[in-house]
């Protein structure tokens, strides 16, 4: 049977998604050893997040926050339905996916800000270079927070990927492919 495809994800959303995957991966891997590379990829992550937030307001239909931010109760209902394998299909982000995007964007902002603070204190470099010379205790606090939020981000990514797999199976969609081509079956 011939299936008709519909455009769902615009080019920016797709470029954003895979650029974020790439830059976050490099940032994660360079965290311990290559400070300069870590800092630059961190800036890239933050820049991408900023663009995505603006795009969430002015972007195309399914890219907008108004399209995928649901009340917590709706997210709960959706997750309950998913457990019983009877969740309805959404063309754009489903309520749980939408909540995950918000959580990940928030987490990335926190990782970035604390990271820039550590960089400023420890190296006297970056946008918060004026923090250089702050107490070692303060640096320790930011460093712990930076690592905590980064680990939390990793956890969110794992749940996000699990959600994508489950959703793809329930609705016989290939959501990974959709994030590449931008299209889903109607």
């Amino acid at each position: 049977m011939e299936q008709t495809d519909v455009r769902v994800w615009d080019p920016f959303v797709r470029i954003f998604h895979w650029s974020l995957v790439l830059t976050f991966t490099v940032a994660w891997l360079s965290g311990e050893e290559l400070e300069v590379l870590h800092a630059w990829t961190g800036y890239a992550v933050f820049g991408l997040v900023l663009l995505r937030v603006v795009w969430g307001v002015i972007g195309t239909r399914h890219a907008r926050f108004s399209d995928f931010v649901y009340p917590p109760a709706a997210v709960k209902t959706f997750l309950g339905d998913t457990l019983q394998l009877r969740a309805r299909r959404y063309l754009g982000h489903n309520p749980a996916g939408g909540a995950m995007i918000i959580l990940m964007l928030l987490c990335l902002v926190l990782v970035s800000v604390t990271g820039v603070a550590v960089y400023g204190i420890e190296e006297g470099a970056g946008p918060l270079a004026m923090l250089a010379g702050s107490s070692a205790a303060l640096e320790e606090v930011f460093e712990e927070m930076h690592e905590l939020f980064a680990s939390l981000m990793l956890l969110l990514i794992v749940i996000h990927v699990a959600g994508v797999v489950v959703e793809s199976l329930i609705h016989r969609d290939n959501l990974v492919k959709a994030m590449v081509t931008g299209r889903k079956h109607a």
Binding site: D10, P11, F12, I15, F16, S19, L22, T23, V26, S30, L34, V36, L37, H38, A39, W40, T41, Y43, A44, G47, L48, L51, V54, W55, I58, G59, T60, E122, E123, G124, A136
Partner: protein, 116 residues
């Protein structure tokens, strides 16, 4: 295609590749920066020691042993804050691994933390 989509896509692509490129280049430069002018790492260390920029490693290890007893696992000389620091990793008698950072010029203990 919508002009907004083109602008945002271009920004994301150009920004990402530009920052990645800058990062990799900077990391590469920094890695070779102070070693390039010397024939070898060995020579670099000797020269820095003669200039008084760094203390000999033995002196730092002596310092480290005053703070903890145990086995030294790894030592590293790193460029940081415009100077140099020694990083010493030690396995203490309780089986815990500590990372200690010393100012390479003064030998002062800057920080020590438990490795996870």
């Amino acid at each position: 295609m919508d002009i907004k989509v083109i602008i945002f896509s271009t920004l994301a692509l150009a920004g990402t590749s530009g920052l990645l490129w800058t990062g990799f280049t900077a990391a590469d430069n920094e890695h070779g920066a102070h070693l390039e002018q010397y024939e070898s790492e060995h020579e670099a260390v000797r020269e820095l020691m003669q200039q008084g920029d760094i203390l000999p490693l033995e002196q730092i290890l002596e310092q480290a042993r005053q703070h903890r007893t145990g086995r030294v696992l790894e030592t590293e000389l790193e460029q940081q804050r415009g100077g140099y620091i020694y990083e010493v990793e030690m396995l203490d008698d309780n089986g815990e691994v500590w990372e200690m950072k010393f100012d390479a010029a003064s030998g002062e203990l800057l920080e020590q933390e438990l490795e996870d």
